[in-house]
């Protein structure tokens, strides 16, 4: 590929100017020879963050493994929209077994590769937040605990989207889902429930845990690349907005992911052996309201009588994240 010379300088934007970088530092996605591991033509909704996240992550993993990746996939949107047979989007060897066993299937693949001496081929497991934090959690924890040579990627869209937007243990508080409807005195998902799986993954002392969003392509790719340098159990949790489930515009997927990070709602960091090694600091601090308001799943907070109390509660959660992970905006920017 020929590289364009720098034509202009962008300011005031979050997009990463690939053209400003030397070729070897450019993103995997910017390369016209990228693997396109999950090819176009799949049936995801317009603006699906999960489709984007998978594309970014698996292409980066493919780049790191010289094109030798085998993927195990949990039941869920990614599985369904990518394999409407006789069409499949996957350009890599790919298996879907069940909803709750993906980590274990990946362990089996890794064991087979090890025993056959094919250690150059790497294994990635992937699933939605439901398949990861709920039904697949036992298998995932087992895989972590044995430190099996698997990179597990969770695409977190905050609910069981494939079955019609039900609550999972990764659904944020106050969010409306079809099983936490926006009715009654405390509409939406309950406060004080749910779990943040990256922290639980860290508690397993596995070599690598990271979070990322689809808003930061370079960060996401760097984390996948870093994960691929390591052997053993690795976990990357990617926030992937879902236009259908969140009630957001298709063109706002990246914006929503960025707002989640900039408001402190979703901490972006990486950890090795249970210790946080780096965080992506907030660049321009914003109130959580900016993140909540565009989403129909929070519409009940902004009705005739806005639920200032609930919004304040969510702001307190974000502030706690900011303190806990040290996400404060740094002077002089990124």
């Amino acid at each position: 590929m020929s590289f364009q010379p720098v034509k202009f300088y962008q300011t005031g934007t979050f997009t990463v100017g690939n053209r400003l970088l030397p070729p070897e530092e450019r993103s995997v996605q910017s390369d016209s020879k990228r693997f396109n591991s999950i090819n176009s033509g799949h049936r995801a909704c317009q603006g699906c963050g999960e489709a984007l996240g998978a594309r970014y992550a698996i292409d980066a993993a493919m780049e790191a493994a010289d094109g030798r990746i085998i993927a195990a996939n949990a039941t869920g949107c990614l599985e369904v929209f990518s394999t409407p047979y006789p069409e499949t989007s996957w350009q890599i060897p790919w298996i879907h077994s069940l909803f709750g066993n993906t980590a274990a299937v990946a362990t089996g693949i890794a064991a087979a590769l090890k025993v056959k001496g094919k250690t150059g081929t790497r294994v990635v497991a992937q699933g939605g937040d439901g398949g990861t934090t709920d039904i697949g959690f036992g298998c995932l924890s087992g895989m972590f605990e044995r430190n099996d040579d698997v990179l597990y990627i969770c695409y977190d869209n905050g609910g069981y989207m494939n079955t019609g937007v039900q609550r999972s243990s990764a659904t944020p508080a106050a969010a409306r889902t079809s099983t936490t409807p926006a009715v009654g005195a405390e509409p939406g998902n309950v406060f004080g429930q749910g779990k943040f799986l990256p922290a639980i993954a860290m508690a397993h002392d596995i070599p690598y845990v990271a979070t990322a969003t689809v808003a930061d392509l370079r960060d996401l790719e760097a984390k996948v690349t870093r994960a691929m340098e390591i052997r053993g159990a690795r976990y990357i949790h990617i926030l992937v907005p879902c236009p259908l489930g969140w009630g957001t515009a298709s063109h706002d997927t990246i914006r929503m992911a960025r707002l989640a990070k900039e408001t402190g709602i979703f901490p972006v960091f990486e950890a090795e052996h249970g210790e946080i090694k780096s965080v992506l600091a907030i660049r321009r601090p914003l109130p959580v309201e900016d993140y909540l308001r565009p989403q129909k799943r929070y519409a009940h907070l902004f009705g005739k009588q806005p639920r200032i109390d609930v919004i304040a509660h969510l702001q307190a959660q974000a502030d706690r994240n900011i303190r806990k992970y040290g996400l404060q905006a740094r002077k002089g920017g990124h």
């Binding site: 499949t88 790919w94 077994s97 299937v105 064991a111 087979a112």
Partner: protein, 417 residues
């Protein structure tokens, strides 16, 4: 080589001779000795190029086997009872994906009430999962069936359960003829998968299939099992040629040529049944035995042939279709449809209840005279049952059933008389 050893050890050594590449295990009695032995062989290096994975559940065990098998490794696991049910979703999945995993089921009852002893409820609960199911009569056959199972599974690209009676076989020390590595290598070729996850030839496995093709995929699974009906006897014959033993096959008949009454059963109880039949033959009874080795696929035509000459059959099974009667019996009845045979179902030995020759003598004599009920529960303690039924009539809050029965029966520990 002739050896005296525990059934579990014999199976473990046979599995090791089959050169498995990935073994995953989760402990449950009475399967544990098998996987413990294999784990030790892997750890001490006796079983070269094999990965042994201690998983966190049976669901994971089967799932690891699925992944390993799909990536081209010969995969093995073992379980029983609650463990088999815990992995059920993955059991169906392995069959649906057509992955030739071999699994030992050390047959044990299913709770509640929790019970560790032998019956066939566990394996039979998975009879429609798409797995082939072979039942061993002796430790020798259990050992031999595993060797045949790998060959058969990999040829058909279907998973196989080798079922052996928990404790009765798994924990019994008996003489077995342990084959040599050369013999097994001569019989069992290296695994050449029909489908494999390979970056050099990427395929997608496990796509969603809608109404347009689902029936056909299912039918093909059935067709493959029908194919197995031919392969199983052929492989048993080849086995005999290499190892010099009759083992496996679809079924075994015993003294049934001129029999008017044929007892049908599976597993180790066939030994007791044959001994009883021998004694009855000595006193002139025309009685014989049909031992089913292959429960899935069910050898409909062969069973019909074996029963054709008889006047009646009595299915004695260690399983129960609650609300109907027998499971094996229903299958046998299917085979003899339209043949005008009298058939009786006997549910026996549930949860490890001993099946004695004394009881069998009485039962078979009743059967010969057509005095059996359509469904008989062998050696059921009617007094205890009726007492509980009365209690339930008398009190709304009659309490938990199992505990009330234990109190009435008044015996601590397993009653194995």
């Amino acid at each position: 080589m002739l050896k005296q050893m525990e059934g579990s050890r014999a199976v473990a050594e046979a599995v090791a001779l089959c050169r498995p590449e990935v073994i995953c295990a989760y402990p449950i009695s009475p399967q544990t000795h098998i996987v413990e032995a294999l784990g030790e062989m892997v750890k001490e290096g006796a079983l070269a190029s094999c990965e042994f994975i201690n998983v966190e559940s049976e669901f994971a065990a089967m799932s690891v086997a699925i992944g390993a098998s799909a990536a081209g490794a010969r995969s093995y696991t073992a379980t029983a009872s609650q463990g088999l049910l815990y992995m059920a979703e993955a059991v169906f999945n392995a069959a649906g994906l057509g992955l030739p995993i071999v699994m030992t089921v050390a047959n044990r009852a299913i709770g509640a009430p929790i019970n560790i002893w032998n019956d066939h409820s566990d394996a039979l609960s998975q009879r429609d999962s798409g797995w082939l199911q072979l039942f061993a009569e002796t430790n020798q056959e259990a050992l031999d069936l595993h060797i045949q199972a790998f060959r058969l599974a990999e040829e058909l690209s279907l998973p196989i359960m080798v079922c052996m009676d928990g404790f009765i076989l798994t924990h019994a020390f008996e003489r077995v003829d342990m084959p040599t590595q050369e013999q097994v290598d001569a019989y069992l070729p290296a695994y050449s998968p029909r489908q494999v996850l390979d970056p050099d030839e990427p395929v997608s496995i496990g796509a969603m299939v809608g109404p347009e093709a689902f029936m056909e995929v299912r039918y093909l699974a059935h067709a493959k099992q029908m194919e197995a009906l031919k392969l199983i006897p052929a492989y048993a014959a080849e086995f005999k040629a290499v190892f010099g033993r009759d083992s496996g096959g679809l079924m075994h008949t015993y003294r049934s040529e001129d029999a008017e009454t044929i007892i049908v059963a599976m597993g180790s109880v066939l030994g007791t049944i044959k001994d009883t039949v021998d004694e009855m033959r000595d006193s002139g009874h025309r009685i014989g035995v049909l031992g089913i080795t292959c429960f899935r696929p069910f050898p409909v035509a062969a069973v019909a042939d074996a029963l054709r000459q008889a006047k009646r059959f009595v299915v004695l099974e260690k399983s129960m279709a609650i609300g109907l009667g027998g499971i094996l019996a229903v299958n046998v009845r299917m085979a003899v449809t339209g043949m005008g045979l009298k058939g009786y179902t006997v549910v026996a030995g549930l949860g490890g209840r001993a099946i004695t020759m004394k009881s069998l003598h009485a039962l078979f004599r009743q059967g010969e005279k057509d005095e059996l009920e359509p469904v008989t529960f062998l050696d059921l303690d009617w007094k205890a049952v009726n007492k509980q039924l009365e209690r339930e009539k008398a009190h709304r809050r009659s309490g938990p059933v199992a505990e009330a029965l234990l109190r009435d029966v008044g015996i601590v520990g397993a009653r194995n008389y």
